[in-house]
């Protein structure tokens, strides 16, 4: 009987040792030694009780150990899943930050580009207006509109002399009078010879003349009045002050 109890004791110990080895590594490192210690102490208690106490104890504890092992494996797996999800979350947050950073950088670049374009645009239109005025002045600055149209028509047809210039219509281009120095003029020029072999006159339906501080000039731009608007915008020295302006 005593030998049977000894065999059962050794069998129980061996079984518990093997089962304790089935716990997940982390749990095993921390608790398996303690669990085995407790089981040994309790096995000794059961041995002391005699009868069927020891086999009942081995059976009960083995079952509980198996349940506990399954639970710990499941817990370990859940823990790994949580860690993986946490890592994935971190990666996602990092990617999001990078994208946000890139988007902000792109927006800043666009803002900077726009900020650089504004002075560039104003610089360009200022330069354009200056070129237009310089070219106009090169053609001549005249004391009156009549002088201007007569002189500018004079050299236009080779071998022909201007007999008469009729100004059909002349008034500031803008109806609200904000730019009174820009004039729209239509005229007919009469020559002493027929330039095309058909007629002695040329009709100019729409020409832009500027009445500047120094006198009248002819502006040959495609967009009538644009140069004048730029001149007004930059308050160029050539522009006649509106208050001092007297219609001719």
């Amino acid at each position: 009987m005593g030998s049977q109890k000894g065999t059962l004791y050794i069998l129980g110990m061996s079984l518990f040792r093997r089962l304790a080895g089935l716990y997940p590594a982390r749990f095993r490192r921390q608790y398996a030694g303690e669990i085995f210690e407790v089981l040994l102490q309790r096995l000794e208690d059961a041995k002391g009780l005699g009868g069927a106490a020891m086999p009942a104890f081995i059976f009960r504890e083995s079952g509980a150990l198996i349940v506990s092992i399954i639970r710990e494996h499941w817990h370990e797996r859940q823990g790994r899943k949580e860690v993986r999800m946490e890592r994935e979350g971190q990666v996602y947050r990092r990617i999001q930050t990078i994208f946000l950073k890139r988007r902000l950088e792109r927006a800043a670049r666009v803002v900077l580009l726009l900020a650089a374009l504004i002075p560039l645009y104003y610089g360009c239109i200022y330069a354009y207006a200056r070129i237009q005025i310089a070219e106009a002045k090169q053609l001549g600055v005249f004391p009156t509109l009549e002088d201007a149209v007569y002189s500018l028509s004079a050299g236009e047809v080779q071998g022909a002399r201007v007999v008469r210039v009729d100004i059909n219509h002349a008034e500031p281009c803008n109806p609200d009078g904000k730019l009174p120095f820009i004039w729209c003029v239509s005229l007919t020029v009469f020559y002493d010879q027929n330039p095309g072999g058909h007629d002695h006159s040329i009709f100019r339906g729409y020409s832009t003349y500027y009445h500047l501080r120094e006198g009248w000039v002819f502006i040959s731009e495609l967009i009538p009045g644009f140069t004048g608007q730029v001149m007004e915008l930059f308050r160029m020295e050539e522009v006649i002050d509106q208050k001092q302006f007297v219609a001719p």
């Binding site: 921390q30 608790y31 407790v38 309790r42 509980a64």
Partner: protein, 126 residues
């Protein structure tokens, strides 16, 4: 973790926490729980250590090295477990909850006694 989120405790958890008011090792916890529950709750070693692991992770208890001399520990390298402040608060709240339940059940009992007395009175009149 909020204390309220952890309530109510299971009976096993309640007894383990109750036993850990003073620091104990695994074997002593099993014995104490058996004693407190009047042999009703018998903890298996595997069940106990799974519960201890969970309680440690939740911060209800802490694990200590046994600083007693080797002769008192029977030469064994044991770890001691004891309640943390959070665990103590949890235990107090659970005790309060159980007390409230007992009070409620007691008041119900009184009411049923009143009804029994009324019934008796009616029968005697009838």
């Amino acid at each position: 973790m909020e204390t309220k989120d952890s309530l109510p405790l299971t009976e096993t958890s309640f007894f383990i926490l109750l036993s850990l008011v003073t620091p104990k090792h695994g074997y002593a916890i099993i014995k104490e729980v058996e004693q407190l529950s009047e042999e009703r709750v018998k903890l298996a070693a595997g069940t106990l250590y799974s519960a201890l692991r969970r309680m440690l992770e939740n911060g209800w208890i802490e694990r200590l090295d046994d600083s007693r001399p080797a002769s008192d520990r029977e030469g064994r390298e044991r770890k001691l477990y004891q309640l943390t402040g959070f665990g103590q608060a949890l235990l107090d709240m659970e005790t309060g909850r159980l007390k409230a339940l007992v009070n409620l059940a007691s008041s119900r009992k009184t009411a049923s006694q009143v009804w029994a007395a009324r019934r008796e009175l009616c029968t005697s009149w009838g």
